[in-house]
Each structure stands twice: as C-alpha cells, then as structure tokens.
Amino acid sequence: MKKFKRYIGLLGLVSMLAIVLSACGSRQSLSKQDVLTNDKASNTITWGVKADTKLFGLMDVSDNTIKGFDVDIAKALTKKILGKNGKAKFVQVTSQTRIPLLKNGNIDAIIATMTITPEREKQVDFSDSYFDAGQSLLVKNSSNIKSVKDLNKTGTKVIGVTGANSVANIKKYAPKAKVLELSDYAQAMTALKSGQGAALTTDNGILYGMAAQNKGYKVVGGTFTKEPYGIALNKGQQPMQKAINKALKEIEADGTYNRILKKWFGNVKGFDYKEAAR
C-alpha cells in the first residue's frame, strides 16, 4: 500500500511538471514581431516550402535546392515585396511541421500546397488563393477503382499524409474506408507501391506529379473537393498579408504567374494549365 501511495505521488508530480511545461509552451515571442519590418531590414523573406512534392516543391539532389511552382511563386513575390535584390530563403516543411515552424518564428510564411480551411484560419491568416487544386485519387493502372465512391467499403485502405486536409476529406466522402496516415508523400507513394492501401489521396496537382514520376500509376475520379491554396502567415501580420496579396495581384497582372504556371504544368498529362491560368 505504501509503495502504491508513493507511486501515485510520483505520477502527480509528473503531471504537475507537464502542466507547468505546457504553460511555458503557450507563450509567444518571435511570432509576435512584425515580419514585414524584420524582412525589410534583413532583405530576406524565409518561406516554408515542401521538398517532397514534385511540381510544387521538390529537392533537387544534384544542386541541393528545392524547385517547383511554390518556390518560383515565392521568388516572384519576394522580388515584388522587397525589390529586385530581395532574397528568398527556403526552409523545408511537411504538412505536419509547417504550422509549428511558422508559430515558432522559424519561417515567415508558408507556401507549401496548403489549402485554405476554416479550421486552419483559426490558427493562421491566409493570403488570397494562389492556386486552385482539388482532391483526387492515385491508383495502379490495373486498379478497378474509378472514383471516391469505390473506396467507401469496409476493409478498403486509403493512404494519405498526416496533417493534410485530404485525410479529413476522405473520412467525409468515404467514411467506411480506413485511412493510413504516413509522414510525407515519398513514404505515402512507397506504401502505395507495396500495396498497403488501394489508393493514395491528395490534391490533383501533387498526384499528377507523382503519376509523372512513377510509371504504372494514374489519377482517377476527377476532383471531388475544391482546394484553394493560400500562403499562411501568423495571426496579426496584416502588413505582410497585405504586401503578399498586392504582390500576388501584380504577378498575375504582368504575366509572371502564367509563365510560372506554364513552366511547371504546361506538360503535365491530364492537367489543363490554361484552365488554371489567371
């Protein structure tokens, strides 16, 4: 009995420590400072981009830089906001790490295939949408899955990525399917290849990139959601938000946007880039 009491005491101590620590965690510091002022002073904007997503942000191992649509848009925006000599710095993020990194002040803005959703808007502020994606499915060429309806059976496993909006969507559109969440798109693709799930689901732009990279896989079912991508900023960064929205309008007006769109999506099979042009 005495030992039991001691054990309870220890557990109590530990939980108290946890509560104290969590109180520390909720304090904010870096993210409260004005990002636009800081960036203008250092002449650098630090963007969080994907590094595992072909077409949007993919690490090129030959020269160790991240390349893609998001990256080029970020560079164009940086030039508009800071002037010709403005520097864009890129930090690799995943669906799961991007919001924590933004909140900690490691990055100034997220431009990483991030859908504008009401839940996320409680945590971060979004710019205007810079790309209109929609959720779709990637399957083996031989698969008999034609649309999201075919997934709504007990025992069907669907692969998604932790932190992505698409996981929540699939639970809505195919509630009977079991969702396997993997940590990034490369792992999700590997899991699809090894047959851990019947389909991989995420936004069509990302899936087209995967289909281009992996022979024997195709995108099916069209889009069953609307996923407008936005640039995410910390709450209370209105000056930066305004600057980004203004820069976005400028690159759309002067043709830079369409040029970047054509560069990345011009040759993607099944994707009509003209429809997405602005």
Binding site: I99, L180, E181
Partner: protein, 213 residues
C-alpha cells in the same frame, strides 16, 4: 491539455492499446529470441557461435526505422501482405532481441565457469546445466540492464507511427495536425508513455530487490 484529453480520448486510448499490444508481443518474443541467440553465442559449436554473432551484429547496428521500413515495404511487395502494425512489431522484436541477446550473453559469461563444470561433473547434460544452473543465475545478474531494454522497447514502439501502426505516437501526430496544438498534443502523448513505462520501471526495480536477497 485537458482539451486534447477530452476531445481526442478515444484516439489516445486506441493508441495506448496498440502501443501496449505491440510492446507486450515484442517483449515476449524478443526475450525468447534474444535468449536463444545468447545461448548460441556461448555454445561450444563454432558454427552456432558465428550464426549468433551475425544475427546480433546485423540487427544491433541497423537503425530500427530501417528494419521497420524493410518489413513494411519489401515484405508486402514480395512475400506476404502484412500491415503497418505487424511490420513495426516484427521490426521492434528483432531489433530488441539483438540487444537482449548481448545483455543475456554478458550475464551467462559472468556466471562462474565452475558452475557449468560442476553441474556437468554431477551428471547433468549441457542443456540441463544451462537451463537449470547457468541461466537462472545469469538472469538474476542481468535484471537491471534487461529492465533498461524493456523500457527502451516501449519507447521504441513509437516507430509504428512511421508505418501507420496506429500507436500512441501515430495518434499524437494525427491529433497535433487536427487540433493544430502541437505542444499540448505531444505533452499528452508523453504522459501516456509514462503510464506504461513508470510501472514497468518500478516493477523491474522491485524484481531486482526481490532477487538480490
């Protein structure tokens, strides 16, 4: 923290269940397999010693994540359909067994060789002497390091998160991304791990004390 606990209770309990299940399975089988390879290593037969050595050196020196990914990706592709939970648990068992083998071997080696000789001189076979005289003494000696291995095993079960094994860490990642409250989500997960490891830690200590007398 309270918000995370109340809103994601069922996910957390599911995660706790899978972590516990995986840990228990891995604990039982890694102890059996580990002890087996420890005996291999002290056998008079040279071939058996080499087999034991190879097994231990391979799996002790590859990161657990790599072993788990091997079972998650390659085995379903070429051998049998296994899900993330099974793949992760197999990886965890094999990885831990190599450490347990080393621990138990050191225990066997520190038992006075006279014990084995005496047992054999009294007419016991090698296996009788090993199982009735040497191993009981060896286990008594290695209880503290074995306890460390068991605690590591529970913590290492978080590898399941990377192969979609629905364990505590997986649920933690999922909750963190749903609630967007990273700090509190992982804090809760940490407390849930303590719920498993603290009693285990206490039990090993208790066992150590009881066997010392």
């Amino acid at each position: 923290m309270i918000y995370i606990l109340t809103h994601y209770w069922s996910e957390l309990i599911q995660g706790l269940g899978y972590t516990l299940l995986s840990s228990i399975i891995a604990l039982i089988f890694s102890t059996i397999i580990g002890t087996m390879f420890a005996i291999f290593e002290v056998l008079p037969s040279r071939t058996m010693r080499i087999i034991g050595r190879i097994y231990i050196e391979i799996f002790r020196n590859i990161p657990l994540l790599v072993i788990a990914m091997f079972f998650y990706v390659l085995i379903p592709m070429y051998v049998a359909k296994i899900d993330g939970f099974t793949a992760g648990t197999i990886g965890l068992t094999i990885y831990t067994s190599s450490f347990i083998a080393e621990t138990v071997r050191s225990g066997i080696n520190s038992v006075d060789p006279g014990q084995m000789e005496g047992a054999r001189a009294n007419g016991m076979t090698y296996w009788q002497a090993m199982s009735k005289i040497v191993l009981p003494q060896a286990f008594k000696l290695v209880i503290p390091p074995l306890g460390n291995q068991f605690i590591n095993l529970v913590k290492n079960s978080s590898v399941l998160a990377f192969v979609a094994g629905f364990d505590l860490m997986y649920q933690g990642n999922s909750i963190a991304s749903l609630s967007l409250d990273t700090i509190n989500s992982y804090m809760v997960v940490g407390v849930f791990y303590l719920i498993i490891t603290l009693p285990l830690s206490y039990y090993m200590r208790h066992l150590e004390k009881r066997l010392a007398n």
